[in-house]
């Protein structure tokens, strides 16, 4: 980490319904940085995202989460959002009764605590939707209701660009998208970095979404712990060799440790 710390996770243990998923995770993300969290399916990457965001179904049994130096481990979800933490959901939920546009506007107003000028808001929304190649009509449709998988993911990135969080966690935002959609989403993510200098924690097990981005650090998670930290070269390494190589490496280091 080259910059001042934004998110600092120390010894985090997380349990879901009596089963411990994270067994002591340490992770630090600095301001204005892009981090990648990789690892095979079912190792606890999404759990970490939920724990940072504050999902009450994920019980923290040990360790702590600091955000801008403040302990937020016990803070409710919405208050973490107010502090600037954002999660792009892997499976965004459908919520009838509120339009995408009204939802974003209300979220922005909650965040800033003041009313927005409708004209300014509409203008920015329209521009941002154009960047993401989203049809304008989606703004007045009920939140995610009947959206395709790709449109749901774009709507998440749209929310990120409009809300301008200090830390955005992208949970498998690229999964299930076709090549064109990944490129558009990836461009949106790049713009987020360029414009707001907010930090990113990108959870992925492919690397397609990273192509337009400069990666500052990469972390590999396996079975609920971070097994390796590195730079952008770690992403390339995994890209070429998969996680298999790492697994044997970590086993070796484990043996060394024992010996």
């Amino acid at each position: 980490m080259k910059n001042a710390s934004l998110l600092e996770i120390q010894g985090l243990r997380v349990r879901v319904e009596d089963k411990e998923i994270l067994h002591g995770v340490d992770l630090t993300v600095g301001k204005d940085e892009t981090h990648v969290l990789m690892g095979p399916n079912g190792t606890g990457k999404s759990t970490l995202g939920y724990a940072i965001t504050g999902n009450p179904a994920y019980e923290i049994t040990g360790g702590q989460i600091l955000f801008e130096g403040e302990d937020i481990t016990a803070l409710p979800v919405n208050e973490r959002a107010h502090k600037g933490i954002f999660l792009s959901f892997q499976n965004p939920l459908e919520v009838p009764g509120v339009t995408l546009s009204a939802f974003i506007r209300s979220a922005l107003e909650q965040r800033t605590g003041s009313r927005l000028r409708l004209w300014d808001f509409k203008k920015k929304l329209k521009e941002t939707m154009a960047l993401l190649h989203m049809d304008e009509s989606y703004a007045e449709r009920d939140l995610n209701v009947g959206f395709s998988g790709g449109e749901k993911k774009k709507a998440e990135i749209l929310q990120m660009l409009m809300l301008e969080p200090k830390l955005a966690i992208l949970d498998e935002t690229d999964s299930g998208l076709d090549v064109d959609a990944v490129r558009i989403v990836s461009e949106g993510v790049r713009l987020f970095r360029e414009r707001t200098h907010g930090s990113l924690l990108i959870i992925t097990h492919s690397t397609r979404i990273l192509e337009a981005l400069h990666v500052d650090a990469a972390h590999v998670m396996e079975e609920g712990v971070i097994v390796k930290n590195g730079g952008a070269d770690l992403v390339d390494e995994i890209n070429e060799n998969g996680f298999q190589v790492l697994q044997s490496e970590s086993e070796e280091s484990g043996e060394n440790g024992n010996g």
């Binding site: 919405n78 959002a81 909650q110 409708l118």
Partner: protein
């Protein structure tokens, strides 16, 4: 549209407007209970024509002979011997708002009634306790021959014969005990006649307010939409809360003539000491359409099952409803349809919400008579239970006597998804707001069908009900 919707759940609401009780300055309050002498007295007070006087006494006799229904929620807390059936406000009916007494005017102003008229209504009626205190219709609407008046005037004026011909012919006093009671003591309500081919582009509205403690309201609404005409009629109801039972046993009779179209919308927010035992029915002729939009939020006990008789060929009905039963409420709602003509269709789409021990029951009844070939019917009912102490039941009944009917029925019961609450909160929304938003969204089948002001009011009511529902 979206912005106003959003406003409706961000803004605070004030429950107190519904709860303010006015001091009673009644000109006349009938003694409590029900005897031929009291009914006779009521008839005299109202200057009924002779036939109506007899009709009331016959209805009373039917009432006395008829047993209480042996199904539905308990109405044990209702003692008709202690209900004042007639309370006349201290004013004559006015058609100029300025002349309505100040306290009554204040009540309606708080509820936004005359303001709504200025903005978006073709005509307004306001009933306070047993009598209409205000009735007005826009000149251009009256010029098209549309009649919108209180039932008392209709009974004696130019349309006396029409009223005599239709009054309680669709819902007769023999229908059930409370229909008989209504026949005996009805007072107030509106009469609407839309002549052939006249289309009202903006709605008419009647607002019913029951202020008097321990009283009953028995208004009668009679609407005739003549051939090829169309109308949207809205009724709103509210009352302050008292610790004794109040009774509402209104009756609505709707006649939809050939190729006519009627939409009848209701937002009911009676206080939670009210027994709302209301009867509504529509008779639809060839090619005609009845659309019911119904939001039931108030009352201690409610029984409401608007019925549509699709008499003419190619006639159709749609029923869109939402019922919200909170603590201490037992709301038994639903809809009935009889397919009698050929190629008729019915569509019911309802949502019920129960919370804090509230009981919500949805009953549907679909009858297809043996000559009603080509009938189509679809019933969809979704329920949302907000906690484990609440209750929700769906009771469908079908009686199909043709071979070619197309009938669908779907019922779903669920609870608020924790994932959805988490999703909304992750964007900064409080838990209370997130839950209120999900519940409003669940009920948006109805709010989408209402004029904007009413949709906002409905969302406010939902938000009000959801307040303090966490923990």
């Amino acid at each position: 549209m979206a912005d106003t919707k959003e406003k409706s759940y961000v803004e605070d609401i004030d429950r107190s407007v519904y709860d303010i009780r006015d001091e009673e300055h009644d000109a006349y309050r009938m003694q409590e209970g029900l005897t031929p002498a009291i009914v006779d007295q009521l008839s005299k007070e109202k200057n009924d024509p002779v036939w109506m006087q007899q009709f009331r006494l016959q209805s009373l006799q039917i009432y006395n002979e008829m047993p209480l229904p042996d199904w539905g929620p308990s109405i044990e807390g209702l003692d008709i011997d202690h209900i004042a059936t007639y309370v006349r406000p201290n004013t004559k009916m006015q058609n100029d708002w300025k002349n309505v007494p100040q306290d009554i005017k204040d009540t309606f102003e708080r509820l936004g009634i005359p303001k709504a008229e200025r903005k978006s209504l073709a005509g307004v009626g306001a009933q306070y306790d047993s009598e209409l205190v205000y009735h007005n219709v826009r000149d251009e609407v009256a010029a098209e021959g549309v009649v919108y008046t209180d039932m008392e005037s209709a009974l004696k004026g130019e349309y006396a014969d029409m009223v005599h011909k239709y009054f309680m012919k669709l819902v007769t006093p023999h229908d059930h005990k409370f229909a008989a009671l209504h026949g005996a003591v009805w007072s107030g309500g509106s009469f609407v006649y839309v002549p052939k081919g006249v289309h009202l582009s903006i709605p008419l509205q009647s607002y019913f307010r029951l202020n008097a403690k321990g009283a009953g309201q028995f208004e009668h609404t009679l609407i005739i939409v003549d051939e090829g005409a169309s109308l949207h009629f809205i009724e709103g109801c509210s009352a302050p809360k008292y610790n004794v039972a109040n009774l509402h046993a209104g009756c609505v009779e709707l006649f939809v003539k050939k190729n006519a179209h009627l939409r009848y919308s209701t937002i009911e927010n009676w206080s939670k000491n009210m027994y709302n035992l209301n009867t509504k029915r529509a008779l639809v002729e060839e090619g005609g359409t009845i659309e019911w939009v119904s939001g039931s939020f108030g009352s201690h006990v409610g029984c409401l099952y608007p019925m549509s008789i699709l008499k003419g060929d190619n006639s159709r009905m749609e029923f869109t409803g939402v019922t919200f039963a909170g603590a201490g409420q037992n709301l038994d709602t639903g809809a009935k349809v009889v397919h009698a003509g050929k190629n008729t269709s019915s569509y019911m789409n309802t949502r019920s919400i129960s919370k804090s021990g509230g009981i919500s029951t949805f009953r549907s009844s679909v009858v297809v008579e043996k000559n009603a070939s080509g009938a189509k019917s679809s019933v969809s009912c979704q329920s949302l239970m907000l906690d484990s102490e609440s209750r929700s039941d769906t009771i469908p009944a079908m009686d199909i006597r043709t071979k070619d009917a197309s009938i669908g029925h779907e019922a779903k019961i669920g609870s608020i998804s924790d994932d959805a609450v988490f999703y909304l909160m992750s964007r900064g929304m409080s838990e209370e707001d997130a839950r209120a938003l999900i519940v409003s969204g669940f009920a948006d089948n109805v709010s989408k069908e209402l004029p904007l002001e009413y949709a906002v009011e409905m969302n406010n009511l939902i938000r009000l009900e959801m307040k303090g529902s966490i923990g």
